[in-house]
């Protein structure tokens, strides 16, 4: 079990109806079905991932999230989750609106671009960050809308969204007193639960 999935799972109420955007091989939904008795669907675009979900019996729908989520009813889900993918979409802000139209709550995790190591890469070395955690070059990265912990918090504020809960954790998803104290500088992954 990946640590981030464990963490998200703690934030999902039992028996919820869940939509997992970019569900990968269905690991989170599988975990949530088993431990939280949730029902719901994963959205995925990758063929191998889709077939893995089908084989595991995880309900998966092949859909390009960038083409919109208009096929889902208003407030049809208790929680809409997007783990480590928000920065990969064309308009994260509009996607966030959609998540909260479809779901009562949204859980989002994303890499914090404000982490001190990224700042060193850019500020001292003068290069886009490249790490085990962000293993892409600027030209081939799927991460087209990086943001910092603070940027996301500001977006929520600007949209008048309520941050129900947040966590700032290191690469292994552990939280420390320093990541909690200065999340924008010390967290590698940011996790937010928001509602309208």
């Amino acid at each position: 079990m990946r640590a981030d999935l464990e963490l998200i799972s703690d934030w999902v109420a039992p028996n919820s109806r869940v939509l997992d955007l970019g569900c990968g091989n269905g690991a989170l939904l599988e975990h949530l079905q088993e431990h939280k008795h949730v029902t719901g669907y994963g959205l995925e675009f990758d063929a191998d991932n889709i077939n893995q979900c089908i084989e595991k019996g995880i309900p998966v729908l092949e859909q390009d999230i960038d083409q919109g989520l208009t096929n889902f009813d208003d407030q049809g889900f208790d929680v809409v989750i997007m783990a480590h993918a928000l920065q990969q979409f064309r308009r994260p802000d509009l996607l966030l609106d959609e998540m909260l139209r479809i779901g009562k709550e949204a859980i989002i995790t994303f890499p914090n671009f404000g982490h001190w190591r990224n700042r060193i890469h850019l500020g001292i070395k003068g290069h886009m960050p490249f790490s085990e955690f962000l293993p892409y070059n600027w030209y081939d990265t799927p991460n087209i809308h990086f943001c910092t912990f603070n940027d996301f918090r500001d977006l929520c504020q600007a949209k008048g969204l309520k941050v129900e809960r947040w966590a700032a954790v290191d690469g292994q998803l552990r939280d420390h007193w320093w990541t909690r104290l200065m999340p924008n500088l010390f967290s590698e992954t940011a996790i937010f639960k928001v509602s309208r």
Binding site: A47, I50, I54, E55, P59, N71
Partner: protein
């Protein structure tokens, strides 16, 4: 002709006939006092009859889905790529039933068989049959085998409509439903295509209002034309382009109406070959069954409400270049299932073959079907494991 039967084939099969003497009230209001269904089975039914898979055929399909009837057969059954030992519909695990639907022309009671009341071939007198009627007869066939609940019911195109109908008509009688390249109802354009096909048959002077058998003839031209039109709609622009392009018979234009382009020759051949194996009245009936199918109409157009009765797990599959049963039509089913909170997975397979793709063993498609059914097989009693 197979020199030897391939190891992943179900081998030589012999069709069976089931006689039904309980009258069947059809959706059109008429009653069939008796009727026969021809079917084939592959694999072994387990002790508690829980490992059965029903195959529902499409417009021009029949009961011969897999294997060979004799060593002289040129080709195996129509879905041999998917059904057999070790194939996605694995006959080492499942007991597969494939029948020719009522109104068909390959051995089940239909326009080409004799009406016992008159002693004459039914011809145009054969009543209209619907998807609902077919499901009813399929359920009666299942009863013959003592199958209370199918492990899965699988079908493409018109076959998918039968699977959809099963899921709400007898929700307790199937655990899994695979609906492939199908739709919850035909689009206007689709009905229009069907009407052109029917008109081309009916306007053939050899049709004789459907009583051509009395005149020892068949509406060759009309049926061939209907098939040519249908065939175009089952392929994609790209697949036809790849296959024929603008290849010509001669090096230069002949400036006449004989075959100039290879695609013309191909279509003429397809049309002609079809008239040898298919009955015009059955073709008309099948297109009407397609047109009439609209389960959502029973709930004022609310498909989700209709599907709320379903209890099985669903796999919905569409193909990117299918314009006769486009991915959007499959997605209507998916959206309705999501709305009613059903267990559904959906995959849209990249394919060049158009609607016909559902008959091809495309790796991603076969893997999805295999994965879905392997889940189903895990719920079977241990003897099958």
């Amino acid at each position: 002709m197979p020199d030897t039967i391939p190891v992943d084939s179900v081998g030589l099969v012999t069709p069976q006939v089931a006689q039904f003497d309980t009258p069947l009230v059809l959706a059109c209001g008429q009653t069939l006092p008796t009727y026969q269904l021809i079917y084939e089975t592959y694999g072994q039914l387990n002790a508690d009859a829980s490992n059965a898979i029903l195959i529902c055929h499409a417009l021009s399909g029949d009961h011969h889905a897999a294997g060979y009837h004799s060593m002289d057969d040129k080709k195996p059954g129509w879905w041999d790529t998917a059904i057999g030992p070790g194939k996605p519909i694995d006959t080492n695990i499942f007991f597969v039933i494939s029948l020719n639907n009522l109104g068909g022309c390959n051995g089940s009671t239909g326009p080409t068989t004799v009406n016992p009341e008159t002693g004459k071939v039914w011809g145009a007198e054969f009543p209209m049959v619907t998807v609902e009627d077919w499901v009813e007869t399929q359920a009666r066939l299942a009863d013959r085998f003592g199958i209370q609940k199918f492990a899965a019911i699988v079908g493409g195109s018109l076959g998918g409509m039968q699977v959809l109908e099963w899921s709400v008509r007898y929700p307790e009688r199937l655990s899994a439903a695979a609906i492939i390249a199908s739709a919850p109802k035909l689009s206007t354009q689709n009905i229009a295509f069907n009407e052109v096909a029917r008109q081309s048959i009916r306007r053939d002077p050899e049709f004789f209002d459907g009583n051509y058998q009395d005149h020892d003839t068949i509406p060759h031209n009309g049926l061939g034309l209907a098939r040519m039109l249908g065939h175009i709609t089952y392929l994609s622009d790209d697949s036809m382009g790849n296959k024929f392009g603008r290849q010509m018979r001669h090096d230069t234009y002949q400036y006449n109406y004989e075959v100039e382009f290879e695609v013309e020759s191909y279509l003429r051949y397809q049309g002609e070959a079809f008239t040898k194996r298919f009955d015009a009245n059955t073709y008309m009936l099948m297109t009407k069954a397609l047109d009439y199918f609209d389960p959502a109409a029973r709930e004022g157009g609310d498909l989700a409400k209709v599907l709320s009765k379903a209890q099985c797990e669903f796999l919905i599959v569409s193909f990117t270049t299918d314009w006769r049963f486009s991915p959007e039509r499959s997605e209507e089913i998916v959206d309705a299932l999501v709305r009613s909170g059903k267990h559904v997975s959906y995959t849209k397979i990249e394919a060049i073959e158009g609607h016909d793709a559902f008959l091809f063993p495309l790796p991603r498609y076969m893997a999805a079907l295999r994965g879905f059914l392997s889940r189903v097989s895990k719920r079977l009693p241990k003897e099958n494991a």
